[in-house]
Amino acid sequence: MDLESEKRELTEAEDHIESRLNPVDPDMLHVGQEMAVAEGDVDPGPQHEFVRGTSLWQDAWRRLLRNKLAVFGLVVVVLVTIISVAGPTVIKRTLGFTPDYIPSNDPRLVKSFPPFTGPNGEFSWTHPMGTDNAGRDQLARVMQGGQISLFVGIIATLVSLLIGVTYGAVAGYAGGRVDDVMMRFVDVLYSLPYVIVVIVLLSMFRSQTARGQLILLFISLGSVSWLTMARIVRGQVLSLKNQEFVLAARATGVSNTKIVFRHLVPNTLGPVIVYATLTIPQIMLTEAFLSYLGFGVQAPLASWGSLAADGVQNIAIFPWQLIFPGVTMALTLFSLNFLGDGLRDALDPQMRTV
């Protein structure tokens, strides 16, 4: 056999294995099916994982669709995202005000204060969620808050993905001393009260502009939330790196960097996606917590956390100022968590930590 055909065969074998997403654990698919049967809601699916066309992705997608709660989560998340992104523009076009519009000089709107009532104290469709203390429309504020909250959640998760996957993959692939030192560092960081340090960071470097504070928030949230991701990826890489396809890649002269990022990292995608989905609500919660305390998003921008903080001021008189942003946020986090759980069951039934 000449070298050329051997090489082709190896690449083919590699593709073949990679198409199964996660060749680590031959038991995995089997265990997944067993569990699915035990839970009684999913059909084990056809037995031919090796045939292209029923890839793990399609399988996972089908399993996800059978999980009612996960579908509910997916629908709500998509709806909240669309409404948050498009909502303020629609309101601007139809009713003519922006989320940060303070109607102090507009006699038509100023009457709608106090909140949640129309000009004569009744419910008004102009402000279905009422207005806040300054007379700004609460619905538009909640939509804008949703934009910022989702944005922070997604960007900070991407930052944590970038750092965590690289760090974990390098540590796992390097092994030995390097791995020891790198993971010990993660252990040390893990045991630190990072939210406390983030509060110090945000309060000390408090930016004069709302945008600056937002960027500070991305950096600080992203840079502390990669630890678990690094651990997960390292674990995956450790069990992957002795597989034949890595050996094959090395034998054909692929560089270490390329092995890590082209061959190992794509194979860890399943758990990584699952964990990333579960990281988004966590980060959104932390962001809301920081904004609630006044260290996060600054006015005139709003996030659900800062809206809740404003609402708490008037809890006795205008409770809906807290309830609308609070319930919207809880519903979104609820859906994201269910979606993450569903994805985990669909993609990686073995990973069942909370």
Binding site: G40, R184, I196, I199, F205, M329, A330, L331
Partner: protein, 307 residues
Amino acid sequence: MVRFIIRRLLITIPTILVVITITWALVRLAPGNFYSGEKKLPAAIEKNIREKYGLDKPWYQQYGRMMWAIIGHRDFGTSLKYEGQSVNSIIFRSLPISAAVGLLAYVLALVVGITAGSIAALKQNSKWDHSSMALAMLGISVPNFVLGPILVLVFSLSLYWLPPSRWGGFPSRNLILPVITLAAVYMAYIARLTRAGMLEVLRSDYIRTARAKGLSETQVVVRHALRGGLMPVVSYTGPALAFLLTGTVVVERIFALPGLGNYFIQASLNRDEPLIIGIVAFIAITLLLMNLVVDVAYAFLDPRVRY
């Protein structure tokens, strides 16, 4: 085991020094300082104050003096804002309040969480299972700063059953709402962890053996299954403590409790450098030591773990 503890303690010390240094650097590198507030001090007075606190010396001398006071004398200095009060006295005054709320919340979360999780696992896929897991998911999703004010709204401002805020001594009705607010998330996490752990254990061979021996179902569950099924809960204790600490920050804020978290927020807003460093260091030390205790406990509970 002893070697493991000693090694961990040896790592703990430099970790704490690193935390103190990072905090100090953050406070110092940021533009402005405690005296750059709204009320401008006359130059002569500011100069005197700076001399008194040693702020006229170069930065490395200040850093060295601070570190020496902390390591040598366990002295974090005096607060800039609360004049004449040492950081130590502030910490020890506010600690019992945070500890009372935090520990009560943790106990409540353990009791309710383990009960609900076990029931859910034992009656898997029943109504009990689904409703308690949905509730648990709700508990994880509702932020405590939303839950707290809503509880206040219902139980204090509408029903007039419980006081809405303030500290009222240790066993007092003032504690009920803060403890429930803080416990909700942990309750939910612990219930989910217990359920997952129990489900795994209930399928294992030694449970089948216990049943085959003819033990009663209660004995199988309480003496055999719970011990193995609770391992994930034990290992969650460490992270839970960390989250509990940050949780108390918000809860103390909502219910106006003069605990450690409230002082920390005030100190951050006031740029009260010694107080910030003192509280951060104290929290870091507590966390690291508690993590060590949890790891040791883990080794005792699970004979398979070896260090």
